[in-house]
């Protein structure tokens, strides 16, 4: 029997790009086992990816069509400045500006620290252990209530054991557009992660799998945030460890 074909040939054979090894493979159990392993990998990688929602697709296509008539940003030059600056914080801040210039077609001049006028300060969500639990705690706090029509009237901070539902609704505080002085420690880090594209609409604290954490929700700047009957629902939620602001979990919610 001839030498076995090498892995490269077997892999190419799988793709119909190396027919010369066909004869050997047909009679070699060892090579067929190797082929099976490669075939399983190919099948796994080829698992279809669930498409985004039609709304997400519409928005993306619409933004691209709208962008045709706008000048392209000088992105590379700005990133060069970022690298030269050397500082991570500065890099993230400038990157935020660059990215906005590159993708936003409607509100590119929104300030990096943009906050919704209806910012929800939800207090402490308590213990949260998984993505579903996180969402279950956030969503009830965003349903329209009378409190949603009472901006600029903060109530006392929630206690550490506050949970979802009526209790947490009571715990909500709807902030005015003016920033409150007790900004959560990791707000800057959260903004850097979402690169300033969206408005900060939701702030809370929690214990994520036992780790004290800050929770930040952002939504697109174009969402109704002024004079709307409800509150803007965050489309991106970040949970960061309060100790060093590293990212514990990120969730994107369908709008």
């Amino acid at each position: 029997m001839n030498s076995h074909p090498d892995t490269e040939a077997l892999s190419a054979f799988l793709d119909g790009e190396a027919p010369e090894v066909d004869t050997h493979v047909a009679t070699c159990a060892e090579c067929r086992r190797h082929l099976d392993a490669l075939r399983r990998v190919r099948s796994a990688v080829g698992t279809p990816v669930p498409p985004p929602s039609p709304r997400t697709r519409d928005a993306a296509v619409g933004a691209a069509v709208d962008a045709v008539d706008k000048p392209a940003p000088e992105r590379r030059r700005q990133w060069t400045v970022v690298v030269a600056a050397g500082a991570v914080a500065a890099a993230l801040l400038v990157g935020l500006v660059v990215t906005r210039a590159g993708t936003s077609s409607k509100s590119s001049k929104t300030a990096a620290g943009a906050v919704s006028p209806n910012l929800v300060r939800a207090g402490d969500l308590g213990d949260v252990g998984d993505a579903q639990g996180l969402r279950a705690k956030i969503e009830p706090q965003l349903t329209p209530t009378a409190a949603a029509h009472a901006p600029s009237k903060p109530t006392p901070a929630a206690g550490p054991a506050a949970g979802a539902g009526a209790q947490s609704t009571t715990d909500q505080r709807v902030a005015s557009a003016a920033r409150q002085t007790e900004a959560p420690r990791c707000e800057g880090a959260a903004r850097a992660l979402q690169r300033g594209r969206d408005l900060l609409v939701y702030v809370a604290t929690a214990r994520w799998q036992g780790t004290p954490a800050d929770v930040f929700g952002f939504s697109p700047a174009g969402a109704p945030v002024t004079g709307s009957p409800g509150r803007p629902t965050p489309t991106r939620v970040y949970v960061l460890a309060r100790s060093d602001c590293h990212l514990l979990v990120f969730q994107s919610y369908a709008p």
Binding site: S11, H34, A44, T47, P52, A63, V68, G95, A131, S252
Partner: protein, 178 residues
């Protein structure tokens, strides 16, 4: 296609819409999380829309769009290198969505994330997008022989990373038969 190139916005809308899901899937697998994939896909769509008049037709539109999108993903990955990775993947269209299919998808993303990006791109373009080697070479700007090598190495690295129920012994490079 021609109408889109000549400035027909409705035609451009239809063209981008027809390719969106495929380009998003490429972004999702190359980048590994939904939020960054959506960002990269958005960047790619904008680039495609703006540069469509420069598309010379030497490759198919799909191949050209994959090239633009792959570059957008590389840019996104470089940017992401400057910030922390998401600890838990995203995408929560509904609370009941986390099931077996999602778990499998997370396995694939986690495994792909451990590949060098040049291997990852070659494998994804082949196994997810179904491009022939010559088109992958066009997308990545490398010779076909290099495409073949990267796909083989990428798949080989993935064998132990992708958990499969009845996986036989660890994959090893075949040795010469006696």
């Amino acid at each position: 296609m021609e109408a889109a190139r000549e400035g027909d916005r409705d035609a451009l809308d239809r063209l981008l819409r027809a390719h969106y899901d495929r380009l998003h899937a490429l972004c999702r697998r190359l980048i590994g999380n939904e939020a960054d994939a959506l960002d990269a896909c958005q960047e790619a769509l904008i680039t495609i829309a703006r540069r469509l008049d420069r598309f010379d037709g030497r490759s198919s539109f799909a191949t050209w769009a994959y090239r633009v999108t792959t570059n957008a993903c590389f840019d996104e990955l470089r940017r992401r290198g400057r910030r922390p990775l998401a600890a838990v993947p995203d995408e929560l269209p509904a609370p009941v969505d986390i099931g077996e299919a999602t778990a499998q998808r997370l396995d694939i993303d986690a495994a792909l994330a451990r590949l060098p990006v040049e291997y990852r791109a070659a494998v994804v373009l082949r196994d997810l997008c179904g491009l022939p080697y010559i088109d992958i070479g066009d997308v990545l700007g490398i010779p076909v022989g290099t495409v073949r090598s990267r796909i083989a190495r990428g798949r080989t690295l993935l064998v132990p990373l992708l958990g499969h129920g009845n996986r036989p012994e660890p994959f090893q490079r075949p040795t010469p038969a006696p």
